[in-house]
Structures are given as C-alpha cells and as structure tokens.
C-alpha cells in the first residue's frame, strides 16, 4: 500500500495530496482539492481548492459534497454555497466541523489565452467516531424495586404474574444536536450528546410477602392438600418463590433475569454507534430537526426492544415453569 492509500472500510481509498509540479510549455492548469484524510466527528476540517497556475483567477461553478448520513446507510449529495471568482494566487478554504465521511467535488472555470477551460477536482475525507460512540450504551443504574418499601405501585391486571419488568426509554428530549453552518458538511445535523438510560423498574406482587393475605393463607407446616390433591406450598416455599421471582426479574442483577437479558442485548446492540453516528440533512427549525433526530433514535431503540422481546419471551417460557417446578408443591390454595 502506498502512502497515499488508506483503507476505507473494506476497500481502499486514496487521499488527496497537493503536488507542486513544474511543467514546461503550455500545459493546462489543473484544479486541486485537498482535505485531511481523516478527522474525528465534530472537529473542524479545512479543505482547500486551488489551481496550479497561481497567476490565474478561477471561478467555482459547482461545489458539492457526497456524504453518508443516517448511521452510514444513506448517501446524499449536498450542494454547497459557491464563492464565485477566486482571485489569482488565492486558495479557497472550506472550514467547518466534519461530521460524516465526505467526497468533496469542485468544478471551476478558468480563462487561458481568452479561452474558457473547465476543471474538476475531488477529495475525500473520512470521519471517525468520537470516543463516546465506542462506549457501551447500557444501563448504568440498578433497577428500582417495587413491593413493600418500594415507591412504585404494581400495575394491577399485570398482577396475573408475580413480577413485571419495565424498561424505560431514554428521555429523547435531552438529546443535544447541532447543525453545521460552514465547511464541507454545511447543512448536516449531528448529535452532540445522548441521554442515558433510566433505571428499569421491577414490580413484585405483595402476595409473596409476609403479611399479605395470600402469603399468610399458606400453611406454616407441610401437609394440607388442595383440590388437585397436591400439597400446598408452605410459607417457606413461598419465600423461596419470592427469591426466585426476584432473581427472574433482575433484583439480583443475575444474567438469567429480564434485567440481565436486557443489559446484554444493549451491550451487543451498541446503540451508541447508531446514535452517535446519526447525521441527517433535514430542513426546518433547530427544534424540528432535533425532534426528527430524536424520532430516529426512538425508532432504533424500539427496534432493539422488539428484538429483546423475543429473547425475554423465550426466557420466560423456560424459567417460569422451572421456578414453579422447583418448588415441589402447589401454590394453589384451592381450585
């Protein structure tokens, strides 16, 4: 690989470079577009456009940037403001934040010996993720527990199960965004900061706790049978059930819990890559742009949730019967 080649994902890109070439005779001028080969998202970049013959003024007739937007899935072409005629000996600079990998293309006309000549040039720069985009986007807070001593009421009809695990979305309205107003990425909006994930909530039914009528209705000592002819669980077995339900929901932060599954999926999904790399080209007020970006994040979040739901359901189908089977008794008081 030569010095001017660099990997662009799975292919090879070529960095632009400025050459000083001395030619003899009447070789036509050429247009040079240069940009740094790579920068970190959000940092300023300086792309320069010049012609080889410094004695000639030139007029930029087209200036566009082909960019990757929306988490590297869509290509768009930005038509950038054109500066008009650049005086002889001057270099035109495009300075501003770089937010996404870009191919900058310029066309210019120059007059040589009274004849107009059209020139063209290109340069590409790659934008690398910021450190925050590599950080795992996971829950940093332990789940909050309901039940006795807890603060959150149990959602009732869901009381058909002993516990309920509730994952809450980030507050999308805390997203900070910015729109680039100068340079080769003018008009693009990107994400400055991403809100954290709130603590999940775990609801436990009061029924499993001493003092609740259902708990207290279970015998202290083994012996009584229910109508199915099965031995009714003692209160100590209900205590064990409670511990298993707590583990199942995620009170103990176990991997084999709804919380543990949720956390692992978040770690695998790497939402920070999508969120941090979200770059859009949208018209409208800053509020509207921010809202549209937040909607895209909320949609990606929901995608991840939908994926996790299948895993959670599969976990339930195995773990719930296992918990009840392990008790070795019937939780039914009467059928």
């Amino acid at each position: 690989m030569s010095l001017l080649e660099f990997p662009v994902f799975n292919l090879t890109g070529h960095a632009s470079q400025t050459y000083t070439v001395t030619v003899s005779g009447d070789a036509p001028p050429h247009l040079t577009v240069t940009c740094p080969a790579e920068v970190t998202r959000g940092t300023d970049i300086d792309c320069a456009i010049s012609i080889s013959d410094s004695t000639l003024p030139f007029t930029i007739t087209d200036l566009s940037a082909r960019v990757v937007t929306r988490s590297a899935e869509v290509f768009e072409t930005l038509h950038l403001p054109m500066p008009g005629t650049i005086p002889a000996g001057h270099v035109y600079h495009l300075r501003g934040p770089a937010v996404t990998t870009t191919m900058l293309t310029a066309s210019a006309s120059v007059t040589v010996d009274g004849q107009p000549i059209m020139l063209g040039g290109q340069a590409q720069f790659r934008v690398d993720p910021r450190p925050m985009e590599h950080e795992p986007y996971i829950m940093q807070l332990r789940p909050q527990i309901s039940g006795p001593g807890g603060t959150t009421a149990y959602p009732r009809l869901g009381a058909a199960t002993f516990g309920l695990y509730q994952s809450r979305s980030p507050d999308w309205n805390d997203i900070k965004t910015a729109t680039v107003t100068s340079g080769p990425n003018t008009g693009l909006s990107y994400v400055l900061s991403i809100p954290g994930i709130p603590a999940s909530l775990i609801y436990l039914t009061f029924a499993m706790f001493p003092g609740d009528p259902w708990y207290e209705a279970h015998p202290v000592h083994a012996g009584p049978l229910n109508d199915l002819g099965r031995q009714i669980c003692t209160q100590s077995k209900i205590d064990r059930l409670r511990l298993d339900v707590e583990r199942h929901e995620g009170v103990t932060l176990a991997d084999s819990s709804h919380y543990g599954i949720d956390q692992k999926a978040l770690r695998d999904w790497q939402l920070n890559v999508d969120f941090g790399g979200l770059v859009v080209n949208l018209p409208g007020s800053p509020q509207l742009v921010r809202q549209q970006m937040a909607l895209k994040m909320a949609t990606e979040w929901k995608m991840e949730r939908e994926y996790v739901r299948e895993i959670q359901d599969a976990f339930d189908s195995i773990d719930t019967p296992a918990i009840l089977h392990a008790l070795g008794c019937s939780i039914y008081l009467k059928i």
Partner: protein, 240 residues
C-alpha cells in the same frame, strides 16, 4: 370465611397467569358464577382494594366481562382524579377487548370528557394495541410539540383477551391521535397524549416494517467512491 374465598379466587387467577393450569368442568361452573358477580362489580368502574378479586377475574372470564370492562371505562369520562383513573387503568390495561377499546376511543374524542380521562383513554388505546408497551401518565402529558414521547416496554405482561380487536382499530387510533394532537382547542395534556399515541404507533409501524429484526452487524459503511448507479435509499422516513 367469605373474605377468604375472595382471596382464594383472586389468587387462583394470579396463579393461572403464571402456569396456565387446566380447568375442570366443576371449576368452570364455579367460575361462571364468579364471572357474573365480578362483572357487576367491574362495571361500576370504581375499584376498591377489597374487590380486587373481581377485577382479577377478567383474566379468567374473558369475553364474558367485555361489557363490564366497556362500562367500567365509560365511567371514567367525568373523572379528573388521576388516582382513581390510574387505579382503573392499572386493572384493565392488560385486558384486550374491543368493547374496552371503543369506550376508550369514545372518551378520547369527547371534548366534554375530563382532560385527564381523555389522556388515560389514549394510554388505554396504546396498551390495547401493543403487547409490550406500558403507557404511563407522566410521559403522556409532557410531550410538547417538538418533543418525542418516551415509552416503556415490559416483560412478563399477561394479556387477557375478551372480544378481539378488529384489525382497523390501529388505524382508527392513529387517526384519532393525529386529530387530537392537531386540535388547538384541546387542552394541552390531551394534545400531548395525542402526540404520544401517534408517535408510538408511527414508530411501531417502522419497526414492524423492518422485520425480521436482527442485531446490526456493525459492518463498516460502503465507501463513497465514484457515484454508483441507482438511487439513494432511505431506511426510515421522517414523520409527517
């Protein structure tokens, strides 16, 4: 021992939610009687703790309690006390039923209903439509015109089905939500709830359209290179 009977009934229901125990004929007869009694209590639409067993019977009674659930929700039309609304909502949110949906849609659209009951009705509509969603009042009332509504998802939710929802109910809810979000004469919290419902359904549409969903491969983006033939593509449009 009457109170003991009620406790037992309530937690038979609770257990069924977990293990799906088979019912005997004798049990079914017993349950029919309980369903009828429970329906009368539920229809009043004013839950109190000592009657929790009746609300729990919705899980067992299914369509038999459809009318009761419908009537119970209609009772919320004039309620502005969010404690009571929450209590009723919490007992019905996982009972999926066309009658309940109709009642909620009716109140949501009713300018004469209290704003609070209209908000809870929109939460109920969403809870009726999406399996893993747990709409909450604080999120539904705090979504401004340029905000995105927060949502909660749940695991271990057990949904009891009464009368199944017609397939058109999703679009019906979306249309209602959009109209309320845009209704400048509606109270702010109603408009906020309209936005929440609309956004939640819009996002879910995007997700359903993207199925099957797999974790991203995290393959690097294709290089820009020379412009390729074909049009640029968009994975998800902007919400209109």
């Amino acid at each position: 021992m009457r109170s003991r009977t009620m406790i037992t009934a309530a937690f038979i229901v609770l257990s069924l939610g977990v293990v799906g125990a088979a019912r005997t004929d004798a049990q079914a007869g017993h349950t029919a009687h309980d369903c009828s009694k429970a329906a009368r209590i539920v229809a009043r639409g004013h839950p109190v703790k000592k009657e929790d067993w009746a609300w729990s019977m919705l899980l067992v009674c299914g369509a038999q309690d459809s009318e009761a659930a419908h009537d119970a929700w209609l009772q919320q039309r004039s309620v502005s006390d969010t404690v009571q609304l929450e209590a009723t909502y919490a007992r019905l949110w996982s009972f999926r039923d066309a009658g309940l949906f109709d009642a909620a849609a009716s109140i949501a659209a009713d300018a004469a209903a209290t704003p609070q009951s209209r908000v809870y009705s929109m939460m109920m509509l969403l809870a009726q439509l999406l399996d893993d969603t747990y709409p909450t009042y604080d999120f539904f009332i705090s979504t401004g015109p340029f905000d995105v509504c927060r949502q909660s998802s749940v695991a271990d939710r057990t949904i009891a089905v009464g009368t199944p929802l017609p397939s058109s109910d999703r679009q019906r809810a979306r249309t209602l939500a959009k109209s309320l979000a845009a209704d400048e004469s509606a109270p702010a919290i109603v408009r906020s709830a309209g936005r929440c419902l609309d956004q939640a359904l819009w996002i879910d549409d995007q997700v359903q359209a993207a199925k099957p969903i797999r974790p991203p491969s995290r393959q690097p983006a294709a290089p820009l290179g020379p412009r390729r033939s074909g049009s640029d593509t968009t994975r998800a449009g902007n919400q209109s």
